[in-house]
């Protein structure tokens, strides 16, 4: 994969936009998840994602090692997200940050307001639990569960080795398991929902 990335980067530098299309195809899940991690609660994930790919293309010549396109793109995405947050700081300050999710779609057929409330409670619980994790463990969790990336894909994007990714996810999910399962067992009202998953 690394080799192919380098090859595609060289083609892009020679003006081949279709080659860039293949890079977009391969990394859009990862870039979207990263953008979502930073600005998702403000509904700006897709915009930041598009800007990140724009910036990466514009500065492609500055990429020293084309086989490291993934980690480089990750850095650009983080910077783009940080810039977005700075630019919209005023608006953000006036908003209630949670919940993360985008407006519920109209074709949503989930029954009753009670269920919806229960779900959003769960939703907030999960996000709170993730925020309690050390910084290094958060992004891999979002990459894995939001876009279902494989360890290999996560490693290509974050630059960590596959074994490191494995260790990070093991530790992070273990922590989440402690907080979420304990929370669900303590919370009688939410218990039915969890039971359904067993």
């Amino acid at each position: 994969m690394q080799f192919e990335d380098a090859q595609l980067v060289y083609l892009c530098l020679e003006g081949d936009t279709q080659a860039y299309g293949r890079l977009v195809e391969h990394y859009q899940g990862a870039v979207y998840a990263t953008a979502y991690y930073y600005v998702g609660r403000h509904g700006a994930a897709e915009d930041v994602m598009q800007d990140s790919f724009f910036e990466a293309y514009r500065h492609l010549r500055r990429l020293n090692d084309p086989s490291k396109f993934g980690p480089w793109l990750k850095e650009i995405t983080c910077r783009t997200a940080a810039n977005w947050l700075r630019k919209h700081a005023k608006r953000i300050a006036a908003e209630t940050p949670l919940p993360y999710k985008r407006p519920v779609a109209i074709e949503d057929h989930r029954p009753g307001p009670e269920n919806v409330a229960e779900r959003s409670e769960l939703y907030e619980g999960v996000h709170r639990a993730i925020e309690a994790l050390p910084e290094r463990y958060r992004l891999p969790i979002v990459l894995r569960y939001l876009q279902e990336l494989s360890y290999e894909e996560i490693s290509e994007f974050t630059g960590e080795s596959k074994d490191e990714v494995r260790g990070i996810l093991q530790y992070a999910v273990r922590k989440l398991r402690d907080s979420l399962i304990a929370q669900s067992d303590a919370n009688e009202g939410g218990k039915n929902w969890f039971r359904a998953l067993e």
Binding site: A6, Q7, Y10, L11, C12, L13, E14, G15, D16, T17, Y20, G21, V24, E25, Q28, G29, Y32, A33, Y36, G40, A45, E46, M49, Q50, F53, F54, Y57, R58, L60, R61, Y100, K101, R102, L122, Y123, V126, H127, I141, V142, R144, Y145, L146, Q147, E148, S150, Y151, R166, L169, Q170, V173, R174, L176, R177, L180, I181, S184, F194, L197, E198
Partner: protein, 442 residues
């Protein structure tokens, strides 16, 4: 029985299907007996279900590829080399690769093959498809990049032509590059070969080449268990699956290893190199000690040569399918403990392969070095049929001079296929000490 702590540390990889086969078996066996770990797995699975469910609502469900591509900024195109993609396309338009081109070029090969397989030709209807098949059957590689002024001289004919994308590479072919040019060849195996400028390379086989002068860079697959050999006017390079560069400039050969393992030899002297190490074979014929270098920057020129994707595909489709399978191991490595005793000879034992009537055994190269320091001690060639004639399936190879100062020897046995004959199976090596007793391998 493995500990629960270890099982706990692989829970997530197990759920994600990222556990290796053996680890998975161990995991599942443990779970059958351990209620605590079964309970942990259940909880971990519940956690995973919650996470997936919560995140599924926000998943990116549609590709933004076209939206991103339509809003791309303009990139200034400043070609890094004299050729750009545009030139390559023109070149391809000028020299379209037709079936007839291939048939024409391969006629001499086809003729030779027909003579040999007279029986085959009786119901052999010759047409272009067959020629194509013949090409894929006899060629050992394909040109996947060619820039600047290059020559491709077929081994079986005088006609010299520029190297072109998707040219088949046959045994005996010679490639020349002039100043500012480069060629990249995919050899079956697979091996990527990049030829720098002002170089000459002779392809002897898919796994054997000669660098007459200039510089090459190689990425030899780890999968193929056969070794790879590079000959230069100053010494030979034997490779056990790796990525490295060889240059022969000013009558001096330099080998630089990026990763993997390489052995450089000149006469009876040899050095084993690892990642980041470089050895030079001087004009005087002596080998320098391995020194550490920044291999990536030394080989930076090779990084600029990238294969043409279309040619790579063509190679994968037409040639890579016949990747060798079930080949014999390329080398056998032994660590033999001498317990500080004086060693006067090495004794090789082997088992004849049952049911296989071997009429001749291949020759071997035997390399002995000190395991602790890696310093070479001895290099001996073992003639092919010595094995056949030896009594009782053992053979004593005397040391040049008795070894007294090593506590452990590293011994490599590398088969030399060019001698013909088959490889021995299951060779065992023991050290012989002066009282004719042997020391068990550790």
């Amino acid at each position: 029985m493995v500990s629960c702590t270890r099982i706990e540390s692989t829970l997530q990889a197990y759920i994600d299907g990222e556990l290796g086969d053996s680890d998975r078996v161990i995991f599942e066996q443990h779970l059958e007996d351990c209620g605590v770990c079964r309970d942990s797995l259940k909880k971990q699975q519940r956690t995973n279900a919650i996470l997936f469910t919560v995140f599924s609502e926000d998943r990116l469900s549609h590709s933004l590829r076209s939206r991103i591509l339509t809003h791309l900024p303009l990139m200034e195109v400043t070609p890094r080399d004299s050729d750009s993609v545009v030139d390559l396309i023109n070149q391809r338009a000028k020299n379209p690769r037709t079936l007839w081109g291939i048939v024409g070029r391969l006629m001499p090969v086809a003729a030779a093959a027909i003579l040999v397989f007279v029986a085959l030709i009786l119901n052999y209807s010759y047409n272009s498809t067959d020629a194509n098949e013949l090409a894929t059957a006899t060629s050992v590689g394909m040109v996947t990049q060619a820039r600047g002024s290059t020559d491709h001289a077929p081994g079986n004919g005088p006609e010299v032509q520029p190297a072109e994308l998707q040219n088949y590479v046959l045994r005996g072919d010679r490639f020349d590059t002039r100043s500012g040019s480069s060629i990249m060849i995919a050899l079956t195996g697979p091996t990527a070969l990049k030829i720098g400028d002002s170089s000459r390379v002779l392809i002897k086989d898919a796994r054997e080449i000669t660098l007459e002068f200039g510089q090459i860079w190689l990425d030899v697959s780890r999968d193929g268990s056969k070794l790879f050999k590079v000959h230069t006017p100053r010494g030979d390079v034997t490779v056990f699956g790796t990525c490295f560069a060889v240059s022969h400039l000013n009558d001096e050969t330099t080998v630089t290893v990026e990763r993997g393992e390489v052995q450089v030899e000149k006469g009876n002297d040899f050095r084993a190199l690892e990642r980041g190490e470089q050895v030079r074979v001087l004009a005087s014929g002596s080998l320098t000690e391995p020194s550490l270098v920044d291999a990536k920057s030394v080989n930076a020129w090779a990084r600029r040569i990238m294969p043409d994707p279309l040619s790579e595909n063509a190679f994968a489709k037409r040639l890579q399918v016949k990747a060798p399978s079930g080949e014999l191991p390329a080398r056998l490595v032994y660590m033999v403990n001498t317990y500080g005793k004086e060693v006067t000879a090495l004794r090789l034992y082997w088992q004849p392969q049952p049911g296989l009537n071997v009429t001749s055994y291949c020759a071997y190269d035997l390399y002995v070095s000190s395991e602790a320091s890696g310093a070479p001690i001895m290099h001996k060639k073992i003639e092919g049929n010595q094995f056949k004639d030896a009594e009782g399936f053992s053979l004593d190879v005397p040391m040049d001079s008795p070894v007294t100062d090593a506590t452990s020897l590293e011994i490599r046995l590398v088969p030399n296929y060019s001698s013909g004959g088959s490889e021995l199976s299951d060779v065992d090596i023991k050290c012989v000490v002066p009282d004719k007793k042997t020391v068990e391998p550790s």
